[in-house]
Each structure stands twice: as C-alpha cells, then as structure tokens.
Amino acid sequence: MIGFFRLVVIGAVVLSVIYLWISWTSRAAQRRKLLADWEEQALTGDRDAFVAAGMQVYERSLRYRLIVLVYVIPVVVVGTIIYVTNYY
C-alpha cells in the first residue's frame, strides 16, 4: 500500500507543477495576444480594463478548462495499464 501512496504523492506533485506551468504559460500567451489586439486595432480607452475583460472571457473558455486534463489523463492511462496487464 505504501507504494501506491508514494506514487500518488509523487504524481500529485509532478502533475501540479506541470499544471501550474501550462496554466501560467497559457495565461501569459493570452495576455500577450490581448495586448497585440489592442495595438493592432488601435483602440483607445482603458487598456488594462480591456485586458482584464479579455482574460475573464478566456477563463470561461474551453482551452482554460482543457488544462485540467493534465490531472485526468495520467490517471486514465494508469488505470488502463492496470486493466490490460492484470485482467486482460
């Protein structure tokens, strides 16, 4: 049993690092894209509010939610391996 807990703990740490990294990179990319849009369309007004509103739209988007797959996919893969190795 201790082996299982070890795997879970190590997996949780590693997957959390990956999740945070992907999450941050994606947010930074979205922010950069919003700023580029602002420049391109030569908008006026409050740029920070524009970026903040754009980020809120992003947070409700599919791409944002897909990042949670970082946790889901390894669990599914491990479950499949256990099934195929032991019960197939």
């Binding site: 201790i2 082996g3 299982f4 070890r6 391996i81 190795t85 032991n86």
Partner: protein
C-alpha cells in the same frame, strides 16, 4: 574538441536507446518448458535489474523468485523471471504474478507436442551477470510463425519523437533569436580586440624591433 562533443552526444543517445530497449515491452514466440522458484541473490550491483518490493524497508540478500523456462522455435533457450513490478518502476503495474505463473504452467509443453506461446516481456537476459527479463503476459498462439506488431512501442516512440522534435524546434528558435546575436557581438568584440593587439604589437615591434 569536436571529438569530445561527439562522444558525449553518442554516449547520451546510446544511454537513451538502451534505456528504451530495456523498458519497452517485447514479444517472444516460445514454447514453455518448465517453471520453478528459486532462492536467488538479489543484492549487489545488479540489484537494479530485479524488482524492488514495495512494502519491505529492509534490504534482503536473497529472495524467492519465480522463473519461466522456455525454448524458441530455433532451439535457443530463454529464461524469464516472473516478478511483480508493483507501483514502482517500470510502470507496468504488474500485480498478477501468481496468475501469470498459473497461466505459464498451463501452457507447458514438450517438443513432440508443442504449445506455442507469445510472451510479452521487458528487460535483458545476460548470462554473465545473471539477469533475466521479466515476463508480463503470456498467451497461446497456433503456430510459431505468428506475426506480432508492437503497437504500443510504435505509438510511444512516435510520441517521444514528437516531444523531442518540439523541444528541438523551440531550442533552435530560441538560439537564433537570443544567443546567436550575442555570440556574434562577442565574436566581433574579440576580432576588434585582436586587431587592436596586432596594431599595438606592430607599434611596439616598430619601436623595439629591427629598425
């Protein structure tokens, strides 16, 4: 200098390929001859080639290990061990060692009436240091001429290659954008310094050299 770099590259890739060859599953068509259990020494520097038990904290010098003896169609023998991988490395999550032992025993046959099987295994067989591949699964097949396509290996290697390529592309782009201009500046600075030194030497040589 070029030899050193080349040696490091080759050494690195040999290690990676060796690791993959050891860890990825392979399929053998064999006829199982016998199974047995033996008290084997699993300590020493070859410890890494045996499964490490999940629960015990003490390090044992010997342990009972199950083995499966088999013969290939061309007459060569192959001996596999049958051990749990548990929750640790390699990630086969093999817990059904006892079941596999029973299945292997069910498929024992003689040369006159052979029952051919495909054994999925990982690991290397080396007689000199006494290491054995670990059998993962066994299934009966009709004839020794069966064609087994390693789908999982193909898929995994494609994914690994894609990851390597993605990293390589980004590294090259990063190098072209950030490092090369800096190296060019450094190179130009060295050239300028070299010219300056040559000029200075020329002046000194003119002062103290042959008139």
């Amino acid at each position: 200098m070029r030899y050193v770099r080349w040696t490091i590259f080759v050494g690195f890739w040999l290690t990676v390929l060796g690791f993959l060859h050891y860890t990825l599953p392979q399929h053998d068509v064999v006829r199982i001859v016998n199974t047995y259990e033996e008290n084997t020494s699993v300590s020493g520097w070859t410890r890494m080639f045996w499964s490490s038990p999940d629960d015990t904290t003490s390090v044992e010098a010997t342990r009972f290990v199950q083995f499966i003896q088999a013969v290939r169609p061309n007459g060569d023998v192959e001996v596999y061990r049958n051990e749990d991988t548990g929750w640790s490395w390699p990630p086969y999550f093999k817990f059904d060692t006892a079941n596999l032992y029973a299945e292997a025993n069910d498929l024992v046959s003689t040369a006159e009436v052979p029952k051919w099987t495909v054994i999925t295994h990982y690991g290397w067989r080396n007689e000199v240091i006494s290491i054995f591949p670990n059998a993962i699964a066994v299934r009966a097949v009709d004839s020794p001429d069966v064609r087994v396509i390693p789908w999982f290996n193909i898929g995994l290697l494609v994914v690994l290659f894609a990851v390597f390529w993605a990293v390589r592309v980004r590294w090259l782009r990063f190098r072209a954008r950030r490092i090369d201009p800096v190296m060019q500046d450094v190179g130009e600075a060295f050239d300028a310094a070299g010219d300056q030194i040559s000029d200075t030497r020329g002046w000194l040589a003119r002062q103290f050299g042959r008139k």
